[in-house]
């Protein structure tokens, strides 16, 4: 009995089911929950393939980070009409095209390998974090040997590509992250011109102008400001 395949099928079934559920549901928060399950199962597939670090990072970044971001987005903006999402036909079309393109890419990448990639062995990482780190930093790994290349994905011919230096992309990633941080800061710009802003900021400014002793804001807004100030 090949239990490896059993576990693969279990995880794959969970992944596909929750992915389909995430697509079909019209409820944003439930969609986010299905997404968590889906991404968690994909992390399980990574574990199964021996890519522990990638699997854990999948959990950490996507489940712990990105979906939280979605959740925040929903919680901060959602009123009832936004929670129920109806997808229009043109959106369906666009999504289909995107998904088909991505699917074709993945299929092509999968079919390049003649046989399934074997996990390296019991409890042994396919690509250890240390290797990953040296690869990021462009340390030349003298044409990674076939012993490890069969685990990192591919046959003997592809082994040479492991020695490629990723130093520039590595640093570019940090520049990219820097750009996002600056963008976030630009979005924040908290209360520079409170008088000209609308919404709650304006209410704050009004409260400030009306002087101490008065509380013009309704109770719920007071709770809101207690929640974030």
């Amino acid at each position: 009995m090949d239990f490896n395949w059993l576990f693969f099928w279990i995880l794959a079934a969970i992944t596909v089911t929750s992915a389909v559920a995430a697509v079909l549901t019209t409820h944003i928060v439930r969609m986010a929950f299905y997404l968590v399950v889906c991404l968690g199962a994909v992390a399980g597939l990574f574990f199964l393939a021996g890519a522990y670090f990638v699997g854990a990072m999948q959990l950490m970044i996507y489940v712990g980070g990105t979906v939280v971001l979605i959740g925040f987005g929903v919680m901060l903006t959602a009123r009832t009409p936004f929670v129920r999402m109806q997808t229009t036909p043109d959106q369906w079309l666009l999504a289909m095209v995107t998904a088909a393109t991505l699917g074709a890419m993945l299929l092509q990448a999968t079919l390049r390998y003649p046989k399934p990639i074997e996990p390296p062995g019991i409890g042994e990482p396919a690509v250890s974090p240390g290797r990953l780190g040296t690869a990021f930093l462009g340390l030349r790994l003298e044409a990674a040997s076939s012993g490890t290349s069969s685990q990192t994905g591919g046959d003997g011919e592809d082994a040479e590509s492991l020695g490629v230096a990723y130093l520039l992309p590595f640093e570019l990633v940090s520049v990219h992250l820097l750009a996002v941080l600056i963008g976030a800061a630009y979005l924040a710009r908290p209360r520079r011109r409170p008088d000209q802003e609308t919404g709650r900021e304006g209410e704050h400014a009004g409260a400030e102008r009306s002087g101490p002793g008065e509380e013009p804001r309704p109770a719920a807004v007071a709770i809101a400001s207690g929640g974030d100030s």
Binding site: M60, G64, V68, G123, P194, H204, A207, S229
Partner: protein, 419 residues
């Protein structure tokens, strides 16, 4: 394979059972500690049921559990019913799942045999990252529960809770990164082994990382100075305001488990895990008595840290939300970065393996890090002098002038108006 599954199931059974019992009885201990701190008696009545034997209140957890079971399992009419049920399950599962990678040492069944690791998944090559990944899932339980409740208190509790948990995950990871840099591995066992082999615990080597980690772990556990997600006085019950019965119990238990997890992590990463000088030895594998001794040492250490957490709970007032965020982003993250860069520089330019010969070679790094902690602490205290204006700040961006004026206002509190 069958053997693997059966062993795993036995271990899972032990872990879940032990954790549930531990959580129940530590709640009792917490109430005792609270009573002791506040100079009163605490729970001392419930003993063996249907008799008059009191047993110092040891029956209290059983009574609490029965009470939870026989409460109404009530789902309010306005909630999202599916998510309302899934959220506590996800929270509980995430809280317990972390224990999969905790090392309890390993056991040499017989001489010359393979050492049997005493954890569920040992040698997990990305164990440290796994811990934080699962920790991240716990955030989702809070968001889900708070949102599904469809209640203002729950929503604010969930927002605050999620913001707090994700904010403190960064310093937590930075402190861990320091240890990863020291151990050169992501395996939890390696961090313990390094401390056991050199005999120098990480708390002495990296005190700054320890402070950052301790504060961040307390915040992640949502313990009192950081219990913003469920501030009883402001938000009723926070994200679990609408919960009752077993679902509420699952939330409360997972909260308590988070504290135990934090204690485990602190002990494993900074206090040498199962290692104790001159008592447990330092090798990876051990014979029966030594292995049991190690488990005992680990648990005693964990209980000590738990006790400390309980003392903190009754000693400190709660942070305000802006103070909480400022502490995370403006104090803990820079501290963590400082520690990380300092250690990297030290390893690169001063000594590559400072702990290779125990204290004999490790003391310069320990001394330098202690000095670094003192310097960073004093610098922070000097730069960020506290001002005690309790009002929500509605002014424009605080330029130096506004901060100064606020300080001036605070310096003479309402004296002019009183006159």
């Amino acid at each position: 394979m069958i053997v693997l599954c059966v062993t795993a199931l036995i271990k899972i059974f032990i872990i879940i059972g032990a954790l549930m019992t531990a959580a129940a009885y530590l709640v009792l201990v917490e109430r005792w500690v609270a009573a002791w701190v506040q100079d009163r008696l605490g729970p001392n009545r419930a003993g063996i049921p249907l008799t008059k034997i009191r047993l110092w209140g040891l029956g209290q957890p059983i009574a609490d559990g029965l009470k939870f079971i026989f409460k109404e399992e009530f789902v309010p009419g306005h909630v999202d019913k599916i998510l309302f049920t899934l959220a506590p399950i996800a929270t509980l599962a995430a809280a317990v799942l972390i224990y999969a990678v905790f090392p309890f040492g390993s056991l040499q069944w017989m001489a010359g045999g393979e050492p049997i690791p005493l954890g569920l998944v040992s040698g997990f090559s990305a164990g440290l990252v796994f811990i934080f990944a699962v920790n991240g899932v716990a955030v989702y339980g809070i968001i889900l529960g708070g949102w599904a409740s469809n209640n203002k208190y729950s929503l604010f509790g969930a927002l605050r809770g999620a913001a707090q948990l994700i904010a403190y995950e960064i310093p937590l990871s930075l402190a861990i990164l320091t240890l990863v840099l020291a151990a050169g591995s992501l395996r939890v066992e390696d961090v313990v082994a390094q401390q056991a082999e050199s005999g120098v615990w990480n708390v002495f080597l990296h005190p700054l990382a320890f402070v950052v980690f301790f504060v961040a772990a307390t915040a992640e556990a949502g313990r009192l100075p950081f219990d913003l997600p469920e501030t009883e006085q402001e938000l009723v019950g926070g994200y679990h305001t609408e919960y009752s019965g077993m679902r509420l119990m699952m939330y409360l238990v997972s909260e308590f488990l988070h504290m135990i997890t934090a204690s485990f992590l602190i002990v494993i990463l900074f206090f040498g895990g199962w290692h104790l000088w001159g008592l447990t030895g330092a090798e990876e594998a051990a014979t029966w008595p030594i292995a049991l001794l190690r488990v005992a040492v680990l648990l005693v250490k964990v209980l000590a840290v738990v006790f400390f957490f309980m003392l903190i709970r009754w000693s400190w007032p709660r942070f305000r939300f802006d103070q909480l965020m400022a502490l995370a982003w403006q104090v803990m993250v820079p501290w963590g970065l400082t520690q990380l860069v300092f250690l990297a520089l030290w390893l690169e330019f001063v000594e590559e393996d400072p702990w290779s010969r125990g204290w004999a070679s490790a003391w310069p790094l320990a001394a330098a890090n202690a000095a670094l902690l003192a310097a960073v602490w004093l610098l922070t205290a000097w730069v960020a002098q506290p001002y005690y204006d309790n009002r929500p700040r509605r002014l424009a961006l605080p330029t130096k002038a506004t901060v100064a004026s606020q300080r001036a206002i605070t310096a003479i509190p309402d004296a002019s108006q009183a006159n």
